[in-house]
Symmetry: C2
Subunit: 463 residues, 2 copies
Amino acid sequence: MTLHPVSSTLIDDLRRLIPADRVSAARADREQHSRDQSAHPAHLPDAVVWVQSTAEVSAVLKYAAARRIPVTAWGAGTSIEGNPIPVQGGIVLNFRQMDKILEIHAHDFQVTVQPGVLYKDMNKILARHGLFFAPDPGANASIGGMLANNAAGIRTVKYGATRDNVLALEAVLADGTVIRTGSRSVKQSAGYDLTHLLVGSEGTLAIITAATLKLAPLPEHFSVATAAFPDVAHAAHAVFELIGAGLEPTALELLDTTAIRVMNTEDGINFPETPHLFMEFNGVNEDALTQTLALAGDICRENEAQQYQSGIGREARSRLWEARHRIFEVHLRYFPGKEYFVSDVSVPISNYPALAAAAEKMLAELEIDGSVLGHAGDGNLHVIGFYHADDAATRDKAFLLNKKLVEMALSLDGTSTGEHGVGLGKRKYMVAEHGASAMAVMRQIKTLFDPHGILNPGKVLNE
Amino acid sequence: MTLHPVSSTLIDDLRRLIPADRVSAARADREQHSRDQSAHPAHLPDAVVWVQSTAEVSAVLKYAAARRIPVTAWGAGTSIEGNPIPVQGGIVLNFRQMDKILEIHAHDFQVTVQPGVLYKDMNKILARHGLFFAPDPGANASIGGMLANNAAGIRTVKYGATRDNVLALEAVLADGTVIRTGSRSVKQSAGYDLTHLLVGSEGTLAIITAATLKLAPLPEHFSVATAAFPDVAHAAHAVFELIGAGLEPTALELLDTTAIRVMNTEDGINFPETPHLFMEFNGVNEDALTQTLALAGDICRENEAQQYQSGIGREARSRLWEARHRIFEVHLRYFPGKEYFVSDVSVPISNYPALAAAAEKMLAELEIDGSVLGHAGDGNLHVIGFYHADDAATRDKAFLLNKKLVEMALSLDGTSTGEHGVGLGKRKYMVAEHGASAMAVMRQIKTLFDPHGILNPGKVLNE
């Protein structure tokens, strides 16, 4: 698929569609939209457009489709697999000015929003209604970005990923046509499920311009617990038993010794430097919560936890989760001047102990600086690994670890990416994960939706 | 799309692919596969094949694709929107001999099965592991049928529909190619979501030959409660408040006076003949359960319930749900010799009181025999209406009611079908529900998957 070189009249053309002050070819603007938070190489777009309406998105796509110009949607730029990097240049559509909360359906536990709204900002407003959107990726991502990557996070163990919490979409097709999918009914059996097809498609099939999301009531009775284990293997085995006991944690996070050490550099955090589980539980009342916490403590101690702390108050809880959410940026500060990779494999919970133990062993054997951590409750494991860009031997070892971890996850009935999406980094594993026949179907779907290949080219599909 | 007339050598051809005793053109076999439990007209297939393996499904599809012969998958024949009626004849693939439980992943709360297994049979086996597959359509449907229609039922209010409980599929494409979708990881962000696209596609895109399902632990502490209301409007308003209070019922069923009267003809059932809610709640322990039941009682009484019974024991609970599950067939006995329709609309819960009250009013005003009932907790409403086939005036009124109910549901942000699927009966509402542009995309997806239109032709899409 060859895309045409961008014409010299691009900016003038776009300014006939969109007010001039929202169309930029300035170097600084292009650089700001050239890379996400991953280590994947930057690539400059030719133009950045700040859209404000579905009609504007449609107008730009109609223009771009006719001229075969790449169009990549941009939310908050917080993804970590290269998902929005405009690797073939063209137009970046920035959605940060399209961030309205269109309607709060409080009685239905639903909200309809534009894609540019940041989820933390949205949740602050929803809290006034006693509600929240549960998928919680840590970074202050945009809802559009979360939809594109099927983002998830520490609350997914209880509430599901973004895909599980979307009821309806408005989206613009590659040729500018606007479609609606799904409905506000929580039950839907009316035809092909376009909603779930578009969620997680990383802006390669259509561009989402509005979404109706499922919300959850803010819990009244909750408590955090932490447990320190002798090694990752014991912690991961406790995870398996906590889930098996049906305790339904609302968060269940694994952090290895290095991750704890990195967190301890943060204000007000001081954990013993051994692998930990951070847990949160809800209860219908304080009694039920106390019983759950006691049972969780028993399970942790049976798995040789030396320390189990529960009944952690609201303030310490906030500090804990904030530190957990900042862990990626804190790692970058802790290992300054280095390149990094972030693995994102996920397996069935019964295979989590094997995966986590292997990850810990690989890091040690390959002598790579980094941490093993993850949303353990749903089988998701991250390794954040660091290396010097100019040290070829270490870099090769880092890439080898990432590759071996994916291969291991696939052999354990898992996936190469639990929540970061395919982006640039996971394309090479798609055939191994899905098989050539399923990938051929995905490629045909891409061609159906985007015959000229203008939507976020170079992503998701294998080359 | 023109399908070729079936060749006179069809049976001989099929018997070269499949052992002869599993290929039939006998009139009785063809009649058994000519209609489901709906009132949609029967249509005879040309041949019935009892498949036993994915390879056999693939072989038949390869043969049929080359000759443009329709192929329709058949589970238990319990659907009620005409979904598996072979309206263009051809081959029916009966899956009842492909009913193995391939693997129980008890520690992962998952099971991998062939599509022919009946869900009640499967759940009996899973109960030995303390687990169950929660979507519960009432009829003893096959898992394949449930996947095809995205079936749901009384447990969906808590556990979701079939689509929400599927992790991975094996399916055969129209040309015989076998694909795998998804994985056993509960978190998945790796490419386009083919799993959810195939679920609910009613066998028109591919034929599912294996599925990995999410299971739930059987609850230890549960109790049923019933409440009698002066009218449907009050009952429906109580539903809205029960959901809004976050009580998380595991079942919340509405039955109008006629439905109760019909149920009362069953052994051991004797309710006051007014509209009722049947509820079930889980609790982490008996205390929590008692509190929940008390709160539910308060809400019912505030909505003028004259009678609220809770603490119903295990045996009475079984009798109640069995009677609820048999309600469709009991209705057919109660109104003998009549034709019937079953509406299946669904709306956001805040609009449920308006929808339910309107349905009750329409039945009375149009003087149609029938009941208003539904899986109220998730906004799903059924009207079972009866008429004499040879009484044109009554029949027209029945069809009018069904049409007006769909239009009302759509105007209330809902859907024409919450759980029965599009089949034959809802095709005419697809453009009104999704818009012409989204329907055009669905049609292109159909063409992509099934270029010759051999898979269950005449279903799902508008004409």
